[in-house]
């Protein structure tokens, strides 16, 4: 039963009466408000110092050991991708509802559905967003749409006030306070939400018309422990430039293949930033999003898993705007990767507890998805450089670092593993029927270099400015 739906139990809430940092206040161990605990700092420093000493005393053996460990990691990651992609072919990987099935539901009483749209300095997208949500195939009196605007964002507020809001739409002003992040705004929206279900959309999102109905059906036909249904995301501007082409290829592979595969395996799912539909009560029980985590969605996916809930994928697409400017992309990716690092450290504060709560299989999923992906982005440049040096100069020193079996495994990862990762992107494009992007997906290794650059930028930022939220600039399609 919804806590906020019963006016007898609680006085009416206002934005200023809500504590948007409830999670960090009540469960600081679940929040990234403290990026690393003292123990984590000690262990990290000890590990680095140990490595430095080992390099000084036994340079070759240490390098060999590290390379062998990294090669093993690559082998595991490649096999893991195989397993996930194979699982994505399973019929239960994604929840599907045909238009006929939805039509067969009528007439029926649809539940109240809350929609949160956090915005910041995006006046040009307000009108489009309101029109898009108003046109969604869901009873107008069952929509509870909150446009979450910062109180000091005068331009967007003015744009919102200039519009005549459709029924069920309201503007919620978020009082200015630290940290200035999207999840903080969403937490206020969550406390003021009145719906049985809740979804988040970004300002520039264009969800498919019947998405809310599909989400309701997904919850109704799924077991009770399904707390979240993630829609697929894709971009409406894939052909704007090479960056948007690569980005679309990557998103197609992630949302159309890898996340369904993870869902089929019952894995912890790092939620996408928008279009995740929740059962409002469960989200409130979990105290919403961590306002200090810059990928609050990924963190929430893990917390859902730890609390015993699962996430399913829904066959419906929300169209977004792909970042088309190089530096904006770097900043966005830096934030995502910083968020993954934050999330990994938050949940690894007590690894045994995490293991107990997630179970061994999901614990491995967590390590490979959250820690593994970030780690690979960081170590990739080292191995690319070594491969390049070996191909061009054939120095004996590099060859000595790869003894027999490590060389074989390393060569397999280089030639087979990298190809598999490129091929997955191709497959994603093919599944999305964006065939022309497949040729561009062949150049994905260049995109990986950008990812590695932003990965290292994320590491530096994690230690220097852990809470800085580098806002992605939208509306570039229209400008261009």
């Amino acid at each position: 039963m919804s806590v906020v739906n019963d006016p007898q139990q609680a006085p009416p809430k206002t934005a200023s009466s809500v504590d948007p940092l409830e999670l960090s206040h009540r469960r600081p161990d679940w929040s990234a408000s403290q990026p690393m605990t003292r123990t984590q700092k000690t262990v990290t420093v000890a590990l680095l110092a140990g490595l430095a000493v080992a390099f000084l005393c036994w340079p070759q053996q240490t390098a060999r050991g590290l390379i062998a460990a990294c090669t093993l990691f690559y082998v595991i990651m490649t096999l893991y991708k195989f397993v996930v992609i194979r699982a994505s072919l399973s019929p239960n990987a994604i929840l599907r509802f045909s238009p006929q099935e939805i039509a067969a539901q009528e007439p029926r009483a649809w539940p109240l559905f809350s929609v949160l749209v956090p915005m910041y300095k995006e006046p040009e997208t307000v009108k489009q967003m309101v029109a898009s949500l108003a046109s969604m195939d869901y009873p107008a009196d069952k929509k509870d749409v909150q446009i979450l605007l910062e109180a000091d964002d005068a331009v967007t507020l003015a744009a919102a006030r200039a519009l005549t809001m459709p029924p069920g739409f309201r503007v919620t002003e978020i009082p200015a306070s630290f940290p200035r992040t999207k999840p903080k705004a969403c937490n206020i929206g969550l406390h003021l939400a009145e719906g049985e279900y809740l979804v988040i959309y970004d300002a520039e999102d264009l969800p498919e018309k019947d998405q809310l109905k599909k989400a309701v059906l997904a919850f109704e036909t799924s077991p009770a422990n399904v707390a979240c249904v993630q829609s697929r995301l894709n971009y409406y501007n894939p052909r704007q430039n090479v960056l948007t082409r690569w980005f679309t290829a990557e998103y197609s592979a992630w949302f159309d293949l890898q996340l369904p595969g993870l869902a089929a395996l019952g894995a912890v799912i790092p939620l996408g930033g928008t279009s995740n539909h929740f059962k409002t009560r469960i989200l409130q029980e979990l105290m919403g999003w961590d306002a200090y985590n810059v990928t609050e969605d990924c963190d929430l996916g893990v917390r859902l898993g730890r609390a015993g809930y699962t996430t399913r994928m829904l066959e419906t697409t929300t169209w977004e705007e792909a970042c088309s400017v190089f530096w904006s992309w770097i900043k966005q990716r830096t934030r995502w990767q910083k968020g993954y690092i934050q999330t990994w450290f938050v949940h690894m504060r007590d690894p045994l507890k995490l293991l107990k709560e997630l179970g061994p299989v999901n614990f491995l999923h967590y390590q490979l998805l959250i820690g593994g992906v970030t780690f690979s982005v960081l170590v990739n440049p080292v191995f690319w450089l070594m491969a390049l040096v070996w191909f061009v100069f054939r120095p004996e020193g590099v060859a000595q670092l790869f003894p027999g079996p490590v060389f074989a495994a390393g060569a397999a990862c280089l030639f087979l593993g990298n190809f598999v990762f490129v091929y997955i992107n191709l497959l994603g494009c093919c599944k999305r029927k964006t065939d022309s992007l497949m040729w561009w997906a062949l150049l994905t290794p260049l995109y990986w270099m950008m990812m590695s650059y932003s990965g290292w930028r994320a590491v530096i930022q994690f230690f220097r400015d852990p809470f800085v939220w580098e806002k992605t600039q939208h509306g570039m399609v229209k400008k261009s």
């Binding site: 027999g404 079996p405 190809f419 191709l426 497959l427 093919c430 497949m438």
Partner: protein
């Protein structure tokens, strides 16, 4: 619902676990008990020995010839690393046949038939291998090639029939792995991959996505070829090294390459059937009839490929192609809708006929006594010089040295007398050359020095014959030190 799920799990366990393990174990026992000529991993073991030792010869051997497939070697490598011989050979044999029986399951299950049909097909293939008593058919390399060929053929047929994206991926990946199974399957692998976009040309909806099927299906194969070229360039200094033997073995390589792909013409009628069925169908895809037509045509094309190799006198591995063809035909038979009893009878008849045909094929010669030759050569050289070193040439040399533990005999994959003299200055060098018959003719030493076995070569002086091997001494002008020593002695 629960009962259905239980039955599904049981069938999966039976056809994906129990039956393959039992049949692979039975084949292994049969091979050990009844076929003395059969030797597991005969070729792969020698290469693996060098690879594990990390030698250049091992890497050269892995990618240096299109007639020696790298995939069976790579498959054998972990077993050779973990287990001693012959246990490594047995384990690799068992695993390879396990893969074949798994491939059978994948090839049949798309049709939605019951688990018993899959188990029958698996048993029929094991029976065919046992009844034919063809040693080459039981080799690990043959099993791997047959399994991959089956996956590729069934995936192409399923793609034509049901238009599932997973079939494009399976066919593309199988085709790419087949490119690592040796020259005899290059043509069929290319044909299987080429069929993917062509089979989708029946209706406009899939025809307009031609580039997608071409890219998704063909890219793995093209990439594999690219990797082969790159590794040949890096390891052997010539991107086309692995193909150079073709120029020596066949008089008109261009004509030969055209002939290798000519069996593709046999697939045209089946393609037309696919297009017609696709255009007339209501559901996406051409349906099971077209799939059967494709499978049968593909099997015929495989037999034709074997004939082409025979015509050009390079048909040393045609048994592998025949096994592939029979396995594909057997699957086509299993996929037909017919009562279980009739299916069992027709499979029995098929096994009997095919095993008779396969068993009648020429058998590969039993390997010569390796240890005796090695010991005799070593004794001969030791009797003449304490500083002798014998370079045993080619893949035949790797096989000869499989059980050799000494240091006098060393393998050599790419003969350069000058380099050897520089590298082993002051030592007495010998070269041991195998007789150029059968697949040994494809060794690099013979396309570089065609008359070496009979006439020797620059600085090579015939020393002695050891069975089918000729030993040559590398002769050179004495060094100044040797001359001084000689003068002093006089």
């Amino acid at each position: 619902m629960d009962q259905d799920r239980k039955t599904y799990r049981l069938v999966r366990l039976l056809t994906g676990g129990v039956t393959p393990v039992v049949l692979a174990a039975a084949l292994l026992v049969f091979a050990r008990l009844h076929d003395v000529a059969w030797e597991p991993g005969a070729q792969a073991a020698g290469i693996c020995r060098e690879l594990i030792a990390g030698t250049t010869e091992g890497r050269q051997a892995l990618f240096g010839s299109c007639w020696v497939a790298p995939l069976p070697v790579l498959f054998y490598l972990p077993f050779a690393w973990l287990l001693p011989e012959p246990a490594a050979g047995w384990a690799a044999f068992f695993a390879a046949w396990l893969f074949v029986f798994w491939a059978v399951r994948e090839a049949v299950k798309a049709t939605g038939h019951s688990g018993w049909r899959i188990a029958l097909a698996q048993a029929a293939i094991a029976g065919m291998m046992a009844v034919s008593r063809q040693p080459q058919a039981l080799q690990t390399a043959t099993a791997l090639t047959a399994g991959l060929m089956l996956l590729a053929a069934a995936a192409v047929a399923d793609w034509a029939a049901y238009r599932r994206l997973r079939d494009v991926v399976t066919a593309g990946a199988s085709g790419a792995f087949l490119m690592l199974c040796g020259f005899p399957v290059f043509g069929p692998a290319g044909l299987a991959v080429a069929l993917l976009p062509l089979a989708a040309c029946g209706v406009r909806e899939t025809r307009v996505r031609f580039q997608a099927w071409l890219l998704l299906g063909g890219l793995p194969l093209v990439y594999t070829v690219g990797v082969l070229l790159l590794l040949n360039r890096l390891i052997l200094g010539d991107a086309f090294f692995f193909l150079r033997s073709l120029g020596y073995l066949v008089p008109h390589p261009g004509l030969f390459l055209a002939a290798v792909f000519a069996p593709g013409l046999l697939l045209v009628p089946a393609l037309v059937v696919t297009w017609v069925c696709d255009a007339r169908g209501v559901k996406p895809g051409a349906g099971p009839v077209a799939a059967s037509a494709l499978l049968v045509s593909f099997a015929v094309a495989l037999i034709a490929s074997a004939q082409v190799l025979d015509v050009f006198s390079v048909g040393w591995h045609t048994v592998t192609l025949h096994v592939c063809a029979l396995v594909v035909l057997l699957i086509a038979l299993t996929r037909l809708r017919q009562p279980m009893v009739r299916l069992a009878l027709s499979l029995m008849l098929f096994v009997w006929l095919s095993a008779t045909w396969l068993g009648g094929k020429e058998r590969a010669a039993a390997p010569a006594a390796r240890d005796e030759i090695g010991t005799a050569v070593e004794a001969y050289v030791n009797a003449r010089t304490p500083y002798g070193r014998v370079f045993v040439l080619g893949y035949a040399g790797l096989d000869l040295l499989r059980g050799y533990a000494g240091e006098r005999l060393v393998p050599n994959m790419d003969l350069h007398i000058g380099s050897l003299r520089r590298a082993y200055k002051g030592q007495n060098l010998y070269v041991l050359v195998p007789r150029p018959v059968g697949p040994v003719r494809a060794e690099s030493v013979f396309w570089k020095h065609p008359d070496i076995y009979e006439l020797g070569g620059d600085r090579l002086l015939f020393a002695e014959a050891f069975g089918a091997w000729h030993l040559f001494e590398v002769v050179s002008a004495p060094t100044q030190e040797q001359l001084d020593e000689w003068k002093k002695a006089r």
